[in-house]
């Protein structure tokens, strides 16, 4: 049984392990005990508070697996930053096209430039996604990724109208970011990993201190640096496809450090937001798993938010039929409301273990 729930301070060890094992290492999920402890405490506090304007909150969720003997383990984590630039600006490169045309030479050539942008400071950010390798390409992966959106759907006041996700960018076989080598290194004079770590753990104000205050011309990057603009790390191709399926689109922004693609969507256009339905719950001993489409189901608690993947078993009167175990996991009784959204079928995906 897999369930997504808010992270608590007791999840720190598991979170540390997931941070250390993330592929590639994530800026926004540093394996730094104090930072992660703060984050978990902050997340719990934010859930307990009434919030009507999104700010510095980071909501941390974990994917908990319970085996047949009832032993629970944390196998994944994912977060939402309520407002990417609430505390400091959130920096990205925005790709723009300038047309350089000369009548005299009879040429017209588009020239791409990268402009430092704070535009996505005003977006909510899905971030810090790390999953135990055993659960990759299972329904559990999509459950963890999308459960956050069912939370967002229920608490629009806690989030911005635009949701963005930064995909880790391309790294070469040596684990080096060609984009960093072609851009960042010239200004930061450090290795990508160092900066990534500093940005994750400490303040990012150094970005403003060293970056040039004007756009960069893409033709002046190295060939490999250019190719990494808007790229996705190969370990995240499936994630990007899943997010596009959810309603995210490629944005004009790329990551400041590795040139990775940023996906973006108006909150209301996400499948999990506009495609979800509330249903009354009916508990049924036997819910046939294999005949139904899978749905993500969430309760309407805040601090005790729970989300699972289960059969999309609707009665003719619109009740959603839950097995007793699933109902217990969601802490729902017959007659209570459950939020459901269908999970599109994927051929290559295996059932949750």
């Amino acid at each position: 049984m897999l369930v997504v729930r808010p992270g608590t301070p007791g999840d720190l060890d598991a979170l540390m392990a997931l941070a250390a094992n993330a592929v590639p290492q994530l800026t926004n999920l540093p394996a730094h005990r104090d930072r992660l402890a703060e984050r978990l405490a902050g997340s719990v506090a934010a859930l307990e508070r009434t919030i009507d304007t999104p700010g510095e909150e980071i909501y941390v969720f974990v994917l908990e697996a319970t085996d047949d003997q009832g032993r629970a383990a944390i196998v994944g984590t994912a977060s939402i930053r309520a407002r990417a630039g609430a505390k400091e600006a959130y920096y990205t490169w925005r790709r723009e096209t300038l047309i350089h045309a000369s009548q005299q030479l009879d040429v017209r050539r588009p020239v791409s430039i990268l402009s430092l942008s704070h535009e996505l400071s005003e977006a909510s950010l899905l971030c810090a996604f790390s999953l135990d390798a055993r659960y990759r390409a299972t329904t559990g992966e999509r459950l963890l990724r999308r459960a956050r959106l069912l939370f967002v759907a229920q608490h629009p006041e806690r989030f911005m109208p635009t949701i963005a996700v930064a995909m880790p960018g391309h790294l070469d076989d040596a684990g080096t970011s060609p984009f960093w080598e072609s851009v960042g290194r010239h200004f930061f004079v450090r290795d990508f990993a160092d900066i990534n770590e500093m940005a994750g753990i400490y303040s990012k104000s150094f970005i403003a201190e060293v970056m040039p205050p004007f756009p960069l011309y893409e033709p002046l990057l190295t060939e490999t640096g250019r190719q990494a603009i808007g790229s996705t790390h190969s370990a995240h191709f499936a994630a990007a496809a899943d997010l596009r399926d959810e309603g995210f689109a490629d944005s004009r922004h790329v990551d400041l450090f590795d040139g990775g693609l940023l996906l973006e969507a108006p909150f209301k256009q996400l499948h999990s937001v506009h495609g979800n339905r509330w249903h009354p719950v009916r508990i049924l001993d036997e819910v046939a798993r294999d005949l139904r489409d899978t749905a993500l189901l969430a309760n309407q608690n805040t601090t005790a938010f729970r989300c699972i993947a289960a059969p999309h078993a609707l009665s003719s009167t619109g009740q959603l039929m839950l097995s007793p175990a699933d109902a217990a996991t969601l802490d729902l009784d017959t007659g209570r409301a459950v939020l459901a959204v269908t999970l599109p079928r994927l051929g290559h995906e295996t059932a949750p273990c």
Binding site: L98, H100, Q103, V107, F187, V189, S203, P212, P219
Partner: protein, 352 residues
């Protein structure tokens, strides 16, 4: 040898020089029609009187030739022309005059323990309205050590500007050819220009020479360029001159023109510049009265550069073989004839 304003009859000579100088000399393209217009334009400038209303704000071109008066007058006119030089009174008024200013962008971060400056190229038209000395060329046959023909071509422009000071603005510049590698490739162009101009360096340079510069503004990168993003070979070109240009640079430096951080947008060669009144030859040149004297033969070596002070169109300049004394300069009748002066004429002279 004498310097005088170019005339219509010099077209053949100018064309010959244009062919001889080839691509490296962009202000003189191998294009007879263009050169004829060039001459017409410069004649109009020379013939303006000193009270002409546009004298103080026109982009006038003053183009001079070096004529060898020892060559038989029966020879074709082209065979008497040994070189040329020019002054543009005000650049950038017809079409923008661009260069890059190599600015310094400070980077300081306590967190990164970083404190340094990055050279950054800012597209600039800062020299709009300044005078430019340009188009200096001495034909190989006249590159004779001791004759000082190159010095004559270079310095005459300072005398001219000193005499007709009102025709010129406060500041003057010269653009020097940039550094090329052994394969005649300019690494700066390779790293920057070629990404923006879909033509090769020679074509870009040629169009610029023809005055057809509008493509530059249209295709140029408008945002500053951090040189940190350019390869080392390109960075090594910033403000560096072609080795053949070293002597010209040395001559301009000696006059007080300095590199102030402006470079050519194509080859990164330096712009050297000065306030006209601060130029050594302008400051140090003096007015004297010519005393024509048949006995004035010694020492005869080119020590005093003399220029006439009559009408602009009748300007002449040449070496005189002795130094002035007490406000007078003894001039041999041959020298007087060369300068087109009579006894008692005023001259502006520059001595070593």
């Amino acid at each position: 040898m004498l310097i005088r304003p170019i005339e219509e009859r010099d077209l053949d000579a100018l064309h010959a020089i244009a062919i001889e100088t080839g691509e490296g000399f962009t202000s003189l393209p191998d294009n007879r029609e263009f050169l004829a217009e060039h001459i017409a334009a410069t004649r109009a400038a020379f013939e303006k009187t000193e009270d002409h209303p546009s004298l103080k704000d026109a982009p006038d071109l003053y183009f001079f030739v070096l004529e060898d008066d020892s060559v038989d007058t029966d020879a074709s006119a082209a065979d008497r022309i040994a070189g040329c030089c020019a002054i543009e009174a005000r650049v950038g008024l017809d079409v923008p005059f661009y260069n890059y200013r190599v600015g310094r962008l400070a980077q300081a971060s306590k967190q990164l323990d970083l404190n340094r400056v990055i050279d950054t190229l800012f597209l600039s038209s800062d020299h709009t309205g300044d005078a430019e000395v340009c188009s200096l060329y001495l034909r190989p046959d006249w590159r004779v050590s001791g004759q000082r023909n190159g010095t004559l071509l270079s310095r005459v422009r300072w005398l001219f500007m000193a005499i007709y000071r009102a025709r010129f603005p406060d500041r003057v510049l010269a653009e020097m050819r940039g550094r090329f590698d052994d394969a005649d490739v300019n690494p700066f162009w390779q790293s920057l220009g070629q990404h923006f101009f879909p033509i090769d360096f020679g074509d870009a340079d040629r169009l610029t020479g023809l005055g057809q510069k509008s493509f530059i503004g249209e295709l140029m990168p408008r945002y500053p360029i951090c040189t940190a993003m350019l390869p080392q070979a390109a960075r090594d070109c910033l403000g560096q001159v072609h080795e053949q240009t070293q002597p010209a640079l040395a001559m301009l430096n000696a006059q007080g023109l300095r590199y102030e951080g402006y470079i050519d947008i194509f080859d990164a060669g330096p712009t050297v510049e000065a306030y006209l009144n601060d130029v050594k030859a302008v400051r140090d040149s003096i007015e004297v009265v010519a005393v024509v004297d048949a006995q004035a033969v010694d020492p005869g070596s080119p020590v005093t550069l003399a220029a006439t002070m009559g009408t602009c169109a009748s300007f002449r300049s040449a070496w005189v073989g002795r130094l002035p004394a007490h406000g007078e300069l003894a001039v041999h009748p041959d020298e007087a004839a060369r300068l087109g002066i009579v006894d008692g004429a005023r001259l502006r002279v520059l001595c070593d």
